[in-house]
Subunit: 192 residues, 2 copies
DNA sequence: CTCAGAAACTATAATCACTATAGATTCAGA
DNA sequence: TCTGAATCTATAGTGATTATAGTTTCTGAG
């Protein structure tokens, strides 16, 4: 990796860190992109060159195609394991569902969950993988990609982080939702 | 209804119609709020007084609480009819799923479906009813409102318009998705 | 009928995210 | 060592949205 790329990555990191710190101190809406650019010591134009998606994208890793590991988890699952089970396990290990994180990442996650604009953008990033996930599901389950059921399942799975992420017990919520997707809605609740 | 309210409604209608016409002619991004205000012969400040949610809200009915009829359909369903069946029927009769509409409304629907910003806003309006729908579902099915399953079902149902609305056959898509929600994801597709 | 206050409207100016342009600097590779 | 591309910069927009302060227009009480 040449010096040029290194400097670029450094600038990007400076922007992320400045944004995260300032958002934490004054709230997302209490910070302007100008302040962030200043703090990172770059021009506003440079800031936008690094985050074409805008202010919300500042604290997210770019190019982190979130579907890669999901699709991989699907393809590499133990033979005989149901598709949904593989997705459940894979998802449960991700950020919103474990507290096994450095405090820095935890603060970041809390900021995202509690800020509507950031939460929405996070959802957008997840949903962007819908096509890829749908293809993988179709391939693994012998269905057609154009099957609406496949697309709906992909979408519903990818929305679990937003839906369950803010719950008191996110992991329990995730499991409840996967159960719903796997077994469907029982007209009457099962008595324990 | 006094003259004041009548005039207010008239202004609101003028804004809607101006926006819809201009969006149709030049596309959503090809029209500025200033143009719309001009066309409706009001100031920009007035425009925003009528649509505090912003440009996207211009062509949507405000205060049209979309959950009212859904909740009603749930409460008034024939006894013995499953919750999901009532929701399916009620939803199937709505705008995105029937072509039984005046051409004006159809053009509006097509504009929404084909414009990302409008589509997103439409989804936001649907999702805003999540709490109300979750309460109704909980009440009708003897579950607790805090039950994650109930919240997830409400959310998933409310997202059907966005998910199925752009399909070649929206009604078939809607039915496929309701089947998925009712019966769950079958590990292997049923052979016909 | 009238008058006081609320509601709707207006012009104006500001803020803020974001884009476009053109030029300067810095690095990579031949 | 030179050329071109990538990065960065300043500057000047555009366009949505908000704030302010003042004007007009209804409404309802007295």
């Amino acid at each position: 990796m040449g010096r040029r790329e290194r400097k670029k990555a450094q600038t990007r990191r400076a922007l992320s860190e400045a944004a995260l710190r300032l958002f934490g101190e004054h709230g997302y809406d209490g910070v302007t992109v100008a302040q962030i650019a200043d703090e990172a010591d770059v021009s506003i134009a440079t800031l936008f060159a690094h985050v074409p998606d805008g202010k919300e994208a500042l604290i997210f890793d770019d190019g982190a195609e979130r579907h890669v590991w999901l699709v991989a988890a699907l393809r590499d699952r133990p033979s005989g394991q149901p598709v949904l089970e593989a997705l459940r396990r894979s998802m449960a290990a991700r950020g919103p569902f474990t507290d096994d994180l450095p405090p820095e990442l935890r603060r970041k996650r809390d900021l995202i969950v509690s800020t509507p604009a950031l939460r929405e953008y996070s959802r957008k990033l997840w949903i962007a993988s819908e096509g890829a996930l749908a293809e993988a599901i179709a391939a693994e389950s012998g269905r057609d990609t154009s099957d609406m059921t496949v697309r709906a399942l992909a979408r519903y799975v990818l929305e679990i982080p937003e839906l369950a992420g803010a719950e008191p017990d996110p992991l329990a919520a995730l499991n409840a939702i996967f159960d719903l997707l796997a077994s469907g809605w029982p007209e009457s609740p099962e008595e324990a």
